[in-house]
């Protein structure tokens, strides 16, 4: 059944404020029966953070009192939503455990978006970074075993495999090579626009999380691993952020943000297995509809444009879904492990000239200890093997089947 948020009443923004008692709900279990309940919380927190930061940037571009007031109202409501949602994560989940949750989100969200992406070039962009986040999950899972003696599959419930992807040592790319061509706002498929906005927000939140939590660790290898992967996340945010068309006005971007949030809350609502959390998604979807209406009013008043001119007639039929993507990840890994970014496009590493700036850059950053390799070396030394959760057989790339290969020593 189609769902058109413009035809829904939603909750007016002015009615969205609540008491501290009502703001925070009981958190979910540390290891929920469906780990993707945690994934949905992590994603929607990132979506709200992006919404808040976008609104702040917009607010700084205008002194129009009406716009500033309406942006302030919407933003305060976004901030309440962010608190309700992020505070659903339990206090006994450590930053490293949350990190493993973030990477599970990255793998299964990116896979789902890529599988459903109508534009082949955008799909390629998703597939490319998918393999990097997939490898980050493996590195952090090894750190988890090394420092906590625990099994990351207790958190992922083996819905997402843990095995090397494109090794992190190869992720480090010259800043000039992580910029992609962008889509065109008048011709882009509406689903593609939402996909890109979603992955930008998710990756940005991951980058921010690592930037801020990395220094909280005592173990040098953990501190270093977070620093290294946070740098890769910067690449991902640039890679994905460059896909957005800069032609869209501030107000159009605002309306698209609100639409995407509505779509995502509706998606989370449709698939949530925990009834209590399902109600949270429903409530927040209705709040987003109210915020969407407010944004549309601003668009009409100041740009003379009806929201129907720029919005699709209904939300996409298929909700963004967290589910297992093992076969898909394996197929992408097997096919594109050797892909690298090259200018505005991609190239097979074996076809890149030896003096390519990629290698020069890697020679600089990988000159000494490489933390993402060091964590594998240390954990292999401690356990007699690296940590993996390969539920569907050995890694599809032969070179990645042992810890030495996982450190980039390809045959």
């Amino acid at each position: 059944m189609t769902f058109n948020p413009l035809a829904e009443k939603g909750i007016p923004v002015v009615d969205q404020f609540k008491s501290w008692d009502d703001l925070l709900l009981d958190p979910i279990d540390r290891a929920p029966s469906d780990p993707h309940t945690r994934s949905r919380i992590i994603l929607m927190n990132g979506i709200e953070v992006e919404s808040v930061m976008f609104s702040h940037q917009f607010h700084r571009q205008t002194d129009n009192p009406v716009l500033r007031e309406k942006l302030s109202m919407n933003r305060r409501a976004d901030q309440l939503q962010q608190k309700t949602i992020n505070w659903l994560l339990p206090g006994d989940l450590t930053p490293l455990e949350t990190t493993i949750g973030y990477e599970q989100v990255a793998v299964d969200l990116t896979s789902w978006l890529a599988r459903n992406e109508p534009d082949p070039q955008l799909k390629l962009a998703l597939d490319f970074a998918l393999l990097e986040d997939f490898d980050h999950l493996y590195r952090y899972a090894n750190l988890y075993e090394l420092t906590n003696g625990r099994d990351a599959a207790e958190l992922t419930k083996s819905l997402t495999e843990i095995t090397p992807g494109r090794p992190t040592i190869f992720h480090h790319t010259d800043p000039l090579d992580v910029i992609r061509p962008h889509y065109e706002t008048h011709s882009v498929h509406p689903l593609s626009r939402l996909h890109v906005m979603t992955i930008v927000a998710a990756e940005q939140q991951t980058m921010n999380y690592y930037m801020n939590h990395g220094p909280e660790f005592m173990e040098p290898v953990a501190r270093a691993l977070y620093a290294e992967i946070a740098q890769v996340e910067e690449q991902h945010v640039t890679h994905y952020g460059s896909l957005l068309d800069p032609l869209d006005s501030w107000l159009c971007q605002l309306v698209f943000h609100e639409l995407n949030e509505t779509y995502l809350y509706h998606s989370m609502y449709l698939q949530e297995t925990d009834d209590r959390i399902r109600q949270v998604w429903e409530l927040n979807r209705d709040m987003e509809i109210g915020q969407l209406h407010a944004a549309c009013e601003m668009l009409k008043t100041f740009e003379g444009r009806d929201p129907e001119e720029i919005l699709p007639p209904a939300l996409p039929e298929v909700p963004v879904t967290f589910e297992t993507n093992k076969d898909y990840v394996r197929s992408v890994l097997e096919a594109t492990v050797d892909l690298r970014q090259d200018g505005l496009g991609f190239a097979d590493v074996d076809e890149m000239p030896a003096d390519h700036r990629l290698f020069e850059f890697q020679n600089i950053v990988n000159a000494g200890t490489v933390p993402s390799n060091e964590v594998i070396r240390l954990n292999t030394e401690a356990q007699g093997r690296d940590y993996r959760d390969e539920t569907d057989g050995p890694n599809p790339v032969i070179d990645l089947r042992d810890p030495v290969g996982a450190q980039g020593a390809m045959a």
Binding site: T62, D63, N64, P181, H182, S187, G304
Partner: protein, 235 residues
């Protein structure tokens, strides 16, 4: 393709397509490289450029419709409001004329050319200048900023229609020539009126303030200015 209703924002659903550029990726099904337009106009003149230019002209009219709706809703003067609404309606007709012209030439009004994108950015900038800084502008300056945007928009408009007519006259006899000239003949008298009115009203507003110190006193407070401005231009 025959268009029956004006489209003010081209989207994927309305058939949007564009030209790939080094920094702009286009889904293959919506990609329109210049070579696709070379056979139009029976190969006369420079069809890819003309198609791109007409796309920019269409975008400018679409943005003009948005501009008029926006300023008509925000001006404090009833006469200006009425004119903005009237010109907005005529601009809506110009959108339709251009859509039909582009279709008649065998091109697609859903095609958004690189120059259309540059036009849209320019027009967005002019429109945003009428409201993003409202908090630091007085009533008179806000009204003048809106008139400035209209003058700028109408200046480009008039130049576009003149160029369309000139292209038409350069073409050999035939349907394309007739379509271009006929479209320009329909729109140009209205465009001439729009720019003449906007230029004159802008000059009037500036002159009033420049030559009558009393005006400054009458607009000392926002409320007084609003009241004074409401009565301005009354017959």
């Amino acid at each position: 393709m025959t268009t029956t209703s004006p489209i003010f924002t081209t989207t994927y659903e309305s058939g949007g397509s564009t030209q790939p550029m080094p920094g702009l990726y286009v889904n293959p099904e919506r990609s329109r490289p210049p070579a696709q337009f070379e056979a139009l106009l029976d190969g006369e003149l420079n069809p890819p450029f003309i198609v791109d230019f007409l796309s920019a002209a269409l975008t400018h009219e679409q943005c003009g419709r948005h501009l008029y709706r926006s300023v008509a809703g925000r001006t404090n003067n009833p006469m200006l409001k009425s004119k903005y609404e009237h010109f907005g309606d005529e601009t809506e007709q110009h959108v339709l004329i251009l859509q039909e012209l582009i279709s008649a030439l065998g091109a697609d009004p859903g095609y958004v050319s690189p120059s259309a994108r540059a036009t849209e950015k320019l027009d967005h900038g002019a429109l945003e200048a009428t409201f993003l800084l409202d908090g630091s502008l007085d009533v008179m300056t806000r009204e003048l900023a809106m008139l400035d945007a209209v003058v700028l928009a109408e200046t480009v408009d008039q130049a576009n229609w003149l160029a369309i007519e000139q292209i038409g006259t350069e073409l050999p006899e035939g349907r394309a020539k007739e379509a271009l000239v006929a479209a320009a003949e329909k729109a140009r008298p209205q465009e001439d009126e729009h720019i003449a009115w906007a230029t004159q009203k802008r000059a009037q507003l500036i002159h009033l303030q420049a030559t009558r110190p009393l005006v400054t006193g009458m607009t000392a407070t926002a409320e007084a200015a609003m009241e004074w401005f409401k009565g301005l231009f009354a017959a």
